[in-house]
């Protein structure tokens, strides 16, 4: 009995292994290829108002979607938006499901090793959210709480680094699960960004959550697969144009009720162009 099981396992693994060997190398993508194709596939978040979310009629909308639409117009092609979760963003880009990400992606050095960022087109703050009654003045005060974060998000990185190992950090698949966990009391604090609280306020006007700590300013850039110099150069130029003609500022006012922040001209460890 055991030898036939062993044989089956071996055969099964062999079959899978053979299948995985049949791979072809990635092809670089240029702006012309996208123009020829007639459509640009853009990954956006599907559950983070006001950046990327489904509006009441079920269509993707938000800051990132508006910027993506403008970029597609400049390219002269149709924009095809793909809603995704924070933890799936990079995987979706790397496995070629989308051409670029406008997915509220914070520009951090670890990520810059995996993807290529352009210069920033948006900014927000990464914060810790908790109930008004919780006394949290520094991160260590939160060490005893159940904290929810979106796996792989900037707040995950910040909180994991800042708290001692063994802290009760719950990493959910996506932002909606974290918000759900916070609102239902499954977690007592949540790593979030400044727009979370706006959204919670809209639905629960009498909510008792407030911003407790600010971890850092986060800047968001368009992410593409590494090595795509042509696309990256084009995107940087396009973002400069959108800043210059005020369209980016209009989007910022529309979705965050604030004018466009001053973006840093460089970020340590995060190149804006292909090296």
């Amino acid at each position: 009995m055991s030898t036939s099981i062993k044989r089956r396992v071996a055969l099964g693994l062999l079959a899978l292994g053979v299948a995985t060997l049949t791979m072809r190398p990635a092809t670089a993508q240029t702006v012309d290829e996208i123009k020829q194709r007639g459509v640009v596939r853009i990954g956006v978040l599907s559950e983070l108002p006001p950046w990327g979310f489904l509006d009441a009629s079920g269509k993707l909308a938000g800051y990132d979607v508006d910027v993506g639409t403008l970029l597609a117009q400049k390219l002269g092609v149709r924009a095809e938006f793909s809603g995704m979760t924070v933890s799936a963003r990079i995987a979706q880009l790397m496995t070629n499901k989308v051409d670029m990400l406008l997915a509220t992606m914070g520009m951090y050095p670890e990520r810059a090793k995996a993807v290529q960022f352009t210069e920033p087109y948006a900014g927000l703050k990464i914060i810790l959210l908790a109930n008004k009654n919780q006394k949290i003045e520094k991160l260590e005060d939160a060490a005893k709480l159940r904290i929810g974060v979106t796996r792989g998000a900037a707040q995950d990185i910040a909180i994991t680094k800042g708290l001692p190992p063994g802290s009760d950090i719950r990493r959910f698949d996506d932002d909606s699960a974290v918000i759900q966990a916070l609102v239902t009391g499954q977690v007592e604090a949540a790593g979030a960004n400044t727009t979370y609280i706006i959204n919670i306020r809209k639905v629960m006007p009498n909510n008792e959550f407030e911003q407790k700590l600010v971890f850092n300013d986060q800047w968001m850039g368009v992410a593409t697969r590494p090595g795509q110099k042509d696309l990256n150069t084009w995107l940087n130029a396009a973002i400069d144009e959108l800043k210059a003609n005020g369209q980016l500022d209009a989007i910022s006012q529309k979705w965050t009720a604030q004018k466009l922040p001053d973006f840093p001209t460089s970020l340590p460890g995060v190149p804006y162009t292909v090296q």
Partner: protein, 222 residues
């Protein structure tokens, strides 16, 4: 970082992966007694053939069997707190797995119980055994022996189903895998490795159950 497979990056996490396997086994082994306990209790109640309890149990079984586990576990984890009941992810997972398994176990066990011939039960009554004793020695034990393959197969399925608990951050292998993926960005390699680990655990459990079965049920029946 082009499209090449890099299993080394994932295999470097082998302590976490091993720990993840332990966690999954722990979760499943804690859910199994719940499943078995509820199943035995419900089958006992069913054989009393009372109208109300039969309908309630039947309703429970049908509800669980015709809705996805993901929805069941979301209901317990995100829905119950609005009623004031907050369950920890692992507790919610064990409860959800236990209930889910029970719905199937009840049907399996019931089949085994109904196959016990009336003659056996009548003999028990004639020997002066109490109702509970009859149920325990004449009905349940032989039934469990008869349905043991189907039941253990269900338990292994339960272990595989536990992977869904990763979405409520329960401590188990798939969740560990997701965290490794978040650090290495190697989705395919991580999940392939994890799948192999589940395969190994399935075979391991199946061998374990075979041994347990041989030890528990090798008393003569004739």
């Amino acid at each position: 970082m082009a499209f090449q497979f890099d299993f080394d990056a994932v295999l470097a996490y082998w302590p976490q992966l091993l720990w993840g396997c332990m966690l999954t086994l722990q979760l499943s082994l804690l859910a199994m007694p719940i499943t078995l306990g509820i199943a035995i209790l419900c089958v006992y109640v069913l054989q009393m053939r009372e109208r109300v309890s039969t309908v309630v149990i039947g309703g429970f079984v049908e509800a669980i069997r015709n809705t996805p586990f993901l929805v069941q576990i979301f209901f317990l984890f995100f829905g119950l707190p609005t009623l004031g009941v907050r369950l920890d992810p692992n507790v919610a997972a064990i409860l959800a797995l236990g209930l889910n398994g029970a719905a199937y176990a009840i049907e399996i066990l019931r089949g085994g119980v109904e196959a016990i011939s009336r003659g056996q039960v009548e003999a028990g009554v004639a020997l002066g055994l109490r109702s509970v004793q009859i149920f325990r020695y004449i009905i349940v034990k032989p039934a469990l022996r008869a349905v043991y393959p189907a039941m253990t197969s269900q338990f292994i399925f339960l272990m595989l189903t536990s992977s869904i608990a990763s979405s409520i951050t329960a401590s188990e292998l798939t969740h560990v895998g997701a965290e490794i993926e978040a650090e290495t960005f190697r989705s395919f390699e991580v999940y392939f490795t994890i799948a192999v680990l589940y395969l190994v655990m399935s075979f391991g459990l199946s061998r374990l159950f075979a041994i347990v079965g041989r030890l528990s049920f090798s008393y003569p029946t004739r």
